[in-house]
Amino acid sequence: MTLLLGLDVGTTSVKAVVYHTDGIAVAASSLPTPTHVPRPGWAFYRPDELWETVVAAIRGALADVPQPEQIASVAVASVGESGVLLDAAGAATTDSIAWFDSRTRPQAAWLAERIGKDVLFARSGLSLQHIFSLNKLLWHREHEPAAWAQSVRWLMLADFIAYRLCGETATDYSLASRTLMLDLHQKCWHEETLDEAGIDRGLLAALVSAGTPLERITSGAAALTGLPPTAVVTAGGHDHVCGAFAAGVTRPGQMLNSLGTAEAVFLPIEQPLVDPKAGSQGYTQGAHVVGGGYYAFGSNYTSGASIEWLRDLLGASDDRVAHAELIASAERVPAGSLGVLFLPHLRLANPPYDDPRSRGALIGLTMDAGRDVITRAVFEGLALESRNTLEPLLAYPQVTAPRSVVAIGGGTRNPLLMRVKASVSHLNHHIVSAEEATALGAALLGGLGAGVYRDADDAVAAMRYGQHEITPELSDVLVYEKIYTEVYRRLYPSIAPLSQAISDLQPTAAVSRDHE
């Protein structure tokens, strides 16, 4: 029997999951991501500490695997943007700046000045933000000249872990998409961007497709982790893109909706979006891990967070029974929540609105608006907001309207939320209950590299994870259509100036969309 190991280096945890080739997990281990916060707005990882955490997670998972020698491959998915500078001996020369760290705003301002936002969008497909890797490189160069002088290679976090496992360096297109240095159209490092920013091409690793086999595990890494020296390490990729692959969302016409603390709308596309407006609306894009195409992406930053906030407020946060009762009571409220409407901008606006000062709202309240009504209104607000994020994307010629939605993540365990989403979007929702979709996507990329699967379609077809379909309820579709077109679309524009004024009265630190 063949087993696959997928690693997921995420914002909050590092996960190691061992899968059968049919996608069923046989062992897993998870450890908190060791993150250091020296001051507000700053955060970093210590590369060696991160590596040790990955090793511990692998050992934790392997403890439950009777025959670890059956593991054929290893691949790593990670957060984007963050990376590690290595010296000629392969040792880290400095700390790794966390992807969401905000110290690099001056570097972003410099790039805007030096190269220009629209030019950068045309090249990289990204709307300039300070989080992208190039800003981090510039920061190290400016503030840590000694470490910079020692550095010969930049690796993204997933690449760094793969390098420690097998001794080969490479960067896949999905992670390269988060650097600002990739020519998204030609899929090569953008020479002009590198020249203008003064970055040596030799600092960057070779670009490969995710799933490309790199090398077998080194004997040292095998001894440390307990992995068999026969296992092949392959190039992994950007975490949510790996998750999309695991859920089978690889082609235009499909859509992934991943429901965590934040929520993502992910649409495979053939060619990148070229209108910079998409960037200014808050959408992002990048290379897919399989199929050679791209994806367009929009976030709802406080999706699961809205439900957690509501649970806290209603005193049902740590109580599963109370939470289930809350959902059951919300089921009895008719669609439309008696005219109560929720705008889920609990930290900032979502695409297509670029407004870090926007705030949430709960409006249309009456004496009949009990917790059941408010709970349903929150679910409906999340579904309406998703639709509001999706629809403007469909206006771009590169985007194919989805025929159905694949949903993954914790939110899919909320049956009412899923039914509301199906009816609001008027799209069937295909719920995939893959265990740790991101780690699974990495494991499948490993399987591709090790020749376990013929190709990406073969890998997806092999999956035996739980799946079921939620269909729209026709009477509710009509109700939501009216609410969306006649009320919801007007909600944010109506109250935005007010939310901004409220936000301005607050002394709290500014929030921005990159704190995803």
Partner: protein, 522 residues
């Protein structure tokens, strides 16, 4: 045996009875509750029989408390205003009373207003016509329930119905009469012009008597039911708003009453009749017959939602056990900073009167952020309610009111935290009324003054008692003024969306929406 007077206040959720002696000391009190019936969304009705039974219970309790050493020399009345009781042949009740909170008559209210002319209506009656006012309810009855209307022989406001049952004689007073909006507030009597315009025969309406005039005596039947001696004189009394002013000792234009209970009212006595032609507030007749230093009118701004919002938060949203809930909630709120970390609450859960006169308004939380917790939410609700009062007050200021101090009454006045918030929001010193039930107090006062021919102004000043004064904090006031500006700006954009939601909801109401009774005050 010492002499005392009985004041009865027929409220929205309960009736209160006070036995008060000649010094204004309460010797006994009683109360009994009754439900608001909501047979359809937006409707609000009560059964006059439940009023009567509750009144009998409350009176017997109060008299029982006061002991055998006290004899009742007279009875005075106060009560919820605006509502309508429909009596037929032999003074039989034809239907449930439609009370002030009812919203069924919005079409009738706008049609009547259009027919008379909005400005002219206000010039005569002192207020715009809104749903739940007797004039609108009566037209609704004629149009929608003709069988009841054509059998109607008498239209009474709620407390007048209870007095009728007590004395056998129908009457009203200028204060309650003007709240019907069929009244000429200038001349303190039914308006022939308005009655003509709405086609209501004047014969349906009771005669008008001064508030402290004796309206009748307790009949033997009523005496049995109430446990009072037959023949006890009963004075006309007045509506709960003007009665509350008297009971709170507010008899001059320099003092404003802020009554914070289910709804809130801001009221200032007025030496003349100065209606707000923009229609944001009410100018009605007071319980005083006009004279030198005897303000015969008062200005009132009413917000529909005050304590109601706290109750909604407690019962519907947070679902806290009622015992000690408000103390817990204000405890949380006191820990949140001014402005509730950027959370703003519009309290229009059942529409709004002053200053917006908008039955379609709905409540809202704005500025919601992930960091908002219980304390922020409760504080935002209290601030929102207080801003709504401030908003009503702003309209009174436009009509010329310029008070120097606030007397605060109602449940909200018992919270030192809320009193400080009121002082800071308004920038005026706040005197907490020591008397609870100032409307019942006013009713007893009218009985006392009427029967002993005392000056009600002097009696009111002598009776009223206040707790410690709460001075405003200037720095807080400045910051609240900033927030208040946001609150005022919020109404227009939010209400646009709210109206759309309301319209959508009305169009989509299906029979499965089960009407819920309004819960009683806990």
């Amino acid at each position: 045996m010492s002499e005392a007077f009985l004041g009865i206040d027929l409220g929205t959720s309960s009736v209160k009875a006070l036995v008060v002696d000649l010094d204004g000391t309460v010797r006994g009190n009683g109360s009994a509750e009754y439900p608001v019936l909501r047979p359809q969304p937006g409707w609000a009705e009560q059964d006059p029989d439940t009023w009567w039974e509750a009144t009998s219970t409350a009176v017997q309790q109060a008299v029982g408390w006061s002991g055998t050493g006290v004899s009742i020399s007279g009875v005075g009345f106060s009560g919820q205003m605006h509502g309508a009781v429909f009596l037929g042949e032999n003074e039989r009740v034809l239907s449930s009373a439609v009370i002030w909170a009812d919203q069924r008559s919005s079409r009738q209210a706008s049609e009547v207003t259009a027919k008379i002319g909005a400005k002219r209506l206000i010039e005569i009656a002192g207020s715009p016509l809104v749903t739940g006012f007797m004039a609108a309810t009566a037209v609704w009855m004629r149009e929608e329930r003709a069988s009841i209307w054509w059998r109607t022989k008498r239209l009474l406001s709620p407390k007048d119905e209870i007095r009728r049952r007590m004395t056998g004689a129908a009457a009203t007073d200028p204060g309650d009469g003007s709240a019907s909006l069929l009244f000429d507030a200038r001349w303190r009597n039914w308006s022939p012009d308005l009655l003509d315009a709405v086609e209501i025969p004047s014969i349906l309406l009771p005669p008008v008597k001064p508030s402290s005039a004796v309206a009748g005596e307790i009949t033997p039947d009523a005496a049995d039911a109430l446990g009072l001696p037959p023949g006890t004189p009963v004075v006309t009394g007045t509506g709960d708003a003007p009665s509350g002013l008297l009971g709170a000792g507010i008899v001059d234009p320099a003092t404003m009453l802020l009554s914070l209970s289910t709804g809130a009212q801001v009221m200032v006595p007025d030496d003349g009749f100065h209606p707000d032609l923009a229609g944001r507030t009410h100018a009605f007749c007071s319980a005083l017959e006009p004279g030198w230093q005897r303000p015969g009118w008062y200005q009132m701004g009413a917000t529909l939602v005050a304590g109601m919002a706290m109750r909604w938060l407690r019962d519907e949203m947070l679902q806290l056990p009622a015992a000690g809930a408000y103390e817990r909630m204000t405890g949380w709120a006191a820990k949140a900073p001014l402005g509730a970390r950027g959370l703003l609450f519009l309290p229009y859960l059942v529409g709004e009167r002053s200053p917006h006169m908008d039955p379609g308004a709905r409540g809202a939380f704005l500025g919601l952020a992930a960091h908002h917790d219980h304390g922020d939410v409760v504080r935002a609700v209290m601030e929102g309610v207080t801003f709504a009062c401030r908003d009503a007050f702003a309209a009174l200021q436009d009509a010329g009111a310029n008070p120097e101090r606030i007397v605060m009454a109602g449940g909200g006045s018992r919270s030192p935290f809320w009193r400080q918030m009121v002082a800071d929001v308004f920038g005026l010193p706040v005197y907490a009324l020591a008397t609870t039930d100032q409307a019942a107090m006013g009713a007893a006062l009218l009985a006392t003054a009427g029967i002993h021919e005392l000056d009600p102004v002097e009696t009111a000043q002598r009776w009223a008692r206040y707790g410690q004064v709460t001075e405003p904090n200037v720095a807080m006031h400045t910051r609240y003024e900033e927030l208040y500006e946001l609150f005022r700006d919020a109404y227009a954009p939010v209400i646009g969306v709210s109206h759309r939601l309301g319209d959508w909801f009305k169009a989509s109401v299906r029979p499965r929406v089960v009407p819920r009774p309004i819960r009683k005050r806990g």
